[in-house]
């Protein structure tokens, strides 16, 4: 399966990015091939609706699971429609979250916020 994580940097030592919609990159990890790739998030500089556009990117890349610290309701609704499950990250480092996900230690993200829409949330 393919998992995606919003990340700050384009290398495996990267930390998880706090924002799903405006993350600079997504780390895509394939649990079968054990290969990692990085995806630029074109939604990062959006005037609005960044979460919607980011969710579109994730859905278009046939991701099975998203690991993220947070997710807004517009994005989570689309991801749900696309059949992508959302898990809550528990570690600062992206790699630790991948390991914990594979070990079954991550739980589903339940607290979906209403979206920041340009107001706070940093």
């Amino acid at each position: 399966m393919k998992i995606a994580i919003p990340v700050d940097e384009k290398d495996m030592g990267t930390k998880v990015c706090v924002s799903f919609g405006r993350t600079p990159y997504f780390l895509i990890y394939d649990t079968e091939t054990k290969k990692s790739t990085f995806l630029d998030n074109s939604a990062a500089a959006s005037a609005g609706g960044a979460g919607i556009k980011a969710a579109q990117t994730i859905a278009d890349n046939e991701i099975n699971a998203l690991l993220t610290p947070r997710c807004g309701e517009n994005a989570s609704g689309l991801l749900k429609d696309a059949g992508i499950r959302i898990f809550k990250t528990i570690n600062v480092q992206a790699q630790d979250n991948i390991d914990d996900f594979i070990a079954g230690k991550l739980s589903l993200l339940n607290e979906i916020h209403a979206g920041f829409h340009g107001h706070g949330g940093n």
Binding site: A43, S46, A47, G48, G49, A50, I52, K53, A55, Q56, A59, N74, L78, D81, A82, G83
Partner: protein, 278 residues
Amino acid sequence: MRIAVLSGKGGTGKTLVSVNLAATAKMSIYIDCDVEEPNGYLFFKPEDVQEEAISVKIPKVDNELCNGCRKCIGFCKFNALAYIKDKLIVFDEVCHSCSGCVMLCPEKALSEKEKIIGRVQKGTSDQVAVYTGILNVGEASGIPVIKKLLVENKLKADKHTFIDCPPGSACTVIESIKDADYCILVAEPTLFGVHNLNMVYELVRLFGKQYGVILNKCLEEENPAEKFCLEKNIKILGRIPFDTELGTLNSNAEIAVRKSEKYLDMFSLLLEAVTREV
């Protein structure tokens, strides 16, 4: 003539100035364009209020016709559309009603539907016609409500019209000052006040408007906003003192000029100063 009242932030005294100037001018029009939190009506308590709903057009999708070309998605700057599992999804509250997606759709899969986003109210208070725009919570833009308020009053340029603007210098403020003959910038005597004054000062200059400043909450001590005006050679129309009596009247939603001769004199002088400028 149409006079817009601006400031770089909330709470500087836009409503105090515009309400009291409109009441001083007697046969006048007061328009509250601060549609996200209109409060001029609290002072005027208008009677015979008539209300009209304001709606915008938003896209409606026929997924039978949509072939997933995504032209609409690529066009929408606000990301109000998504295409998931062979279905086009519209986020009504993200849409800014530009109709671009409807025009672009090669399959005619998008049509338009009306959506109510707010309302305008019109009433009277003594001889002042009071117009209020109210945007429903959570809507993307107050521009359609402001447009309606100002179109209504375009033809009545013979009366003094006071436009109470939203705070700041964003697009709703630009819309509010579009047809103004003169802009009053209200400023507080602090460094923060100078920063906010500078924002609206740059805006009115950008639009080539005539403008002047009213210094509000003036104390005996040094006034950074006044210093800014002197440095930039900006016309100071007048000064409103930091005055607890005025503050009390205002916080009780009273119109100061209708309560006290002292304030009527003060705002009459301000109105004269503005009228001389236009």
